[in-house]
């Protein structure tokens, strides 16, 4: 075949475009700027602890909705057990963190010097993600034979299995929950006084979008979209559909595990009730609010949804009447979600001149 060098940056209209320096560096620069702002926010006390927590929840929700979008949006399967994977990630990283870096009544003194948490923290979050990815493998297997409603039921069941398993494990607190993660976070702060949780939440959110974007825009990852649009054709046209499903499910659930690990360390306390079917539903709402198959939509909806939940907090339990009502209205008037299968740059093509996110 012709080996004429073609730029990988090919736009949908078929023209090959070499990015300008501005396009190439705008996203990394923006990421660094974001980290700098958060650093300032954390150090100066310009925002209250509460506002900071809301920002961290936003980042966690971005990870949750973007990762679920891979399976429910890009691949077109219907998985509703995302909370279960968050639980796996949350518990594995919490237990690991407390075991290694904090003194605990059950686990005794830390196995490693607490100041090592500085390096250890991102690693334990990633290990939590890895454990959740392995749990995702179990959900991938039934997806070989069934999809639609049946897969939805299986994933809900998986969610419940995880929750019941945790509830019955007394070593990690059972249904009372597990705590001690604040000590891990404090250990990081003692080693070097920075707003670590703010920085890591933001960092992992960017990492999630980066990894998903690269996956979905490679010819390899596009196999996932081929499965969504016609699974039979995908298999016949040489896409190994089973392997693609395993890859997508594991990536999606692994990132959910990362979100769970961050959540646990932000709150400083986990209990199995936080990762039940309500959590999974929140994840679904965010995916459908933002638009299936749209990463920027997922980010947008995660931010809006977090703000909405906080704004409705005074309503207490009535919140859970208002939120589903909003979902019904959304389905009624804009069933494709805010961006609906398009990225922000597709809606505003002018944005393409300023950045490139690959």
């Amino acid at each position: 075949m012709s080996s004429q060098p073609t730029s990988v940056a090919v736009r949908p209209d078929g023209t090959a475009a070499r990015p300008t320096a501005f396009q190439r560096w705008s996203v990394p620069a923006l990421t660094l700027a974001g980290l700098a702002v958060l650093l300032w926010v954390g150090q100066s006390g310009a925002l209250t602890k509460y506002t900071q927590t809301v920002i961290m929840f936003m980042a966690v929700n971005v990870i949750v909705s973007a990762s679920l979008n891979l399976v429910n949006g890009y691949m077109g399967e219907f998985s509703c057990g995302h909370g279960g994977f968050m639980a796996v990630g949350a518990y594995v990283s919490s237990v690991l963190g407390v075991l290694l870096f904090a003194k605990d009544r059950v686990f005794g003194p830390p196995l490693l010097p607490p100041e090592w948490a500085l390096v250890g923290f991102p690693l334990i979050v990633l290990v939590g993600g890895l454990a959740a990815a392995l749990a995702g493998l179990l959900v991938a297997i039934p997806s070989f034979r069934t999809r639609g409603d049946y897969l939805a039921i299986i994933t809900i069941a998986a969610n419940y299995i995880v929750i019941s398993a945790v509830e019955n494990l007394d070593v990690i607190g059972g249904s009372r929950g597990f705590m001690g993660m604040k000590r891990v976070v404090k250990a990081m702060g003692r080693a070097w006084d920075l707003p670590w949780m703010l920085l890591w939440s933001f960092g992992f959110a960017v990492f999630t979008l980066w990894i998903l974007r690269r996956f979905v825009y490679s010819t390899y990852g596009k196999g996932v979209m081929a499965i969504c649009q016609d699974e039979v054709a995908a298999e016949i046209m040489s896409v190994n559909t089973n392997r693609m499903k395993v890859a997508a499910f594991m990536l999606s659930s692994g990132l959910a595990g990362v979100a769970g690990g961050l959540f646990a360390h932000i709150v400083g306390y986990v209990n199995p009730g936080s990762f039940g079917i309500l959590k999974s539903t929140e994840a679904l709402v965010m995916v459908y609010l933002g638009g299936m198959g749209s990463l920027s939509g997922s980010v947008l909806s995660a931010v809006l949804f977090t703000l909405l939940l906080e704004a409705l907090r005074p309503l207490q339990i009535i919140k859970w009447i208002v939120v589903p009502l909003l979902l019904i209205l959304l389905m009624q008037f804009r069933p494709e979600g805010i961006l609906g299968n398009r990225e922000l740059a597709d809606v505003f093509p002018g944005l393409r001149r300023f950045f490139r996110f690959k």
Binding site: M1, S3, P12, R214, F215, S218, K222, G223, M225, A233
Partner: protein, 255 residues
């Protein structure tokens, strides 16, 4: 060696015998037809060859290797591509993406390469892209590369599906009713097109078709099946005058 050798191929759906004792040999570079009335089991044959069903009995040898029981993507990776009776393009992915994805079996990189954008990934993506563009150009489809198939007219969709099958770089191409839904002018173009594809891409073609003029014009050998049974096999002339074929198509006069 024969490209495809089917021996005693039999398939049951539950208790229903959809295909019984089919024997066919396809020599390299030939154009062969498979015809029969509706429900005769023609598409079942293609589904068996492409690995969609596991045959109840019999052998399917592709280039000397028994492929019965392989998964569809494995069969395709060996060099068997097909089109569908009702077009099955990925309608919301661009034509270019459709062609690119059909090279999945020779991507040559994996998940880690895609995420880390390794040299191998960049090189292979560039090659896949260049190959897809060249293929579209050769097939005179380059002007629709950026279009979504759902926005294309029916005849073009058929051509794109053919292009997608060719991007597998098949040795054997199965065409399931390529002329379905085309008008007379399109059919004439299709006949020229198929013959040209066989010569240009050096591929063996086996087709199911209801348009008798297409089959008679193109195929050097035709097999006729009815209710899963092979009722005739031979050159177009032999088939045209075969009483069993005429009976299968026109019905039995006796009550």
């Amino acid at each position: 060696m024969a490209v495809l050798e089917i021996r005693d191929l039999t398939h049951y759906f539950g208790g229903l015998c959809a295909l019984s004792h089919l024997n066919i040999t396809l020599e390299p570079g030939t154009l062969t037809g498979l015809i029969g009335p509706n429900g005769a089991g023609k598409t079942t044959v293609f589904n068996l060859v492409s690995g969609f069903y596991r045959p109840s009995r019999g052998e399917i040898r592709f280039a000397g290797r028994n492929i019965a029981g392989l998964k569809p993507h494995q069969v395709t990776a060996l060099g068997v591509a097909r089109t569908f009776q009702n077009i099955r393009l990925w309608k919301d992915l661009t034509v270019l993406d459709n062609i690119r994805i059909a090279q999945h079996h020779r991507l040559g990189y994996g998940f880690a390469d895609a995420v880390l954008r390794t040299r191998r990934f960049r090189r292979r993506e560039a090659e896949i892209d260049a190959y897809a563009r060249e293929l579209l150009e050769v097939l005179e489809l380059d002007h629709v590369a950026g279009e979504l198939p759902k926005n294309l007219p029916y005849g073009l969709q058929r051509k794109v599906e053919l292009a997608r099958a060719l991007s597998v770089e098949p040795k054997l191409l199965l065409l399931d009713e390529p002329a379905a839904g085309l008008n007379t002018a399109d059919v004439e173009e299709l006949i020229r097109h198929i013959r040209w594809i066989r010569d240009r891409f050096d591929v063996t073609i086996w087709m199911i078709e209801h348009h008798m003029d297409v089959v008679m014009e193109l195929c050097s050998h035709i097999t006729v099946i009815d209710f899963g049974e092979t009722i005739a096999s031979g050159t177009p002339e032999e088939i045209r005058t075969n009483p069993a074929v005429i009976q299968a198509y026109l019905g039995d006069d006796e009550i």
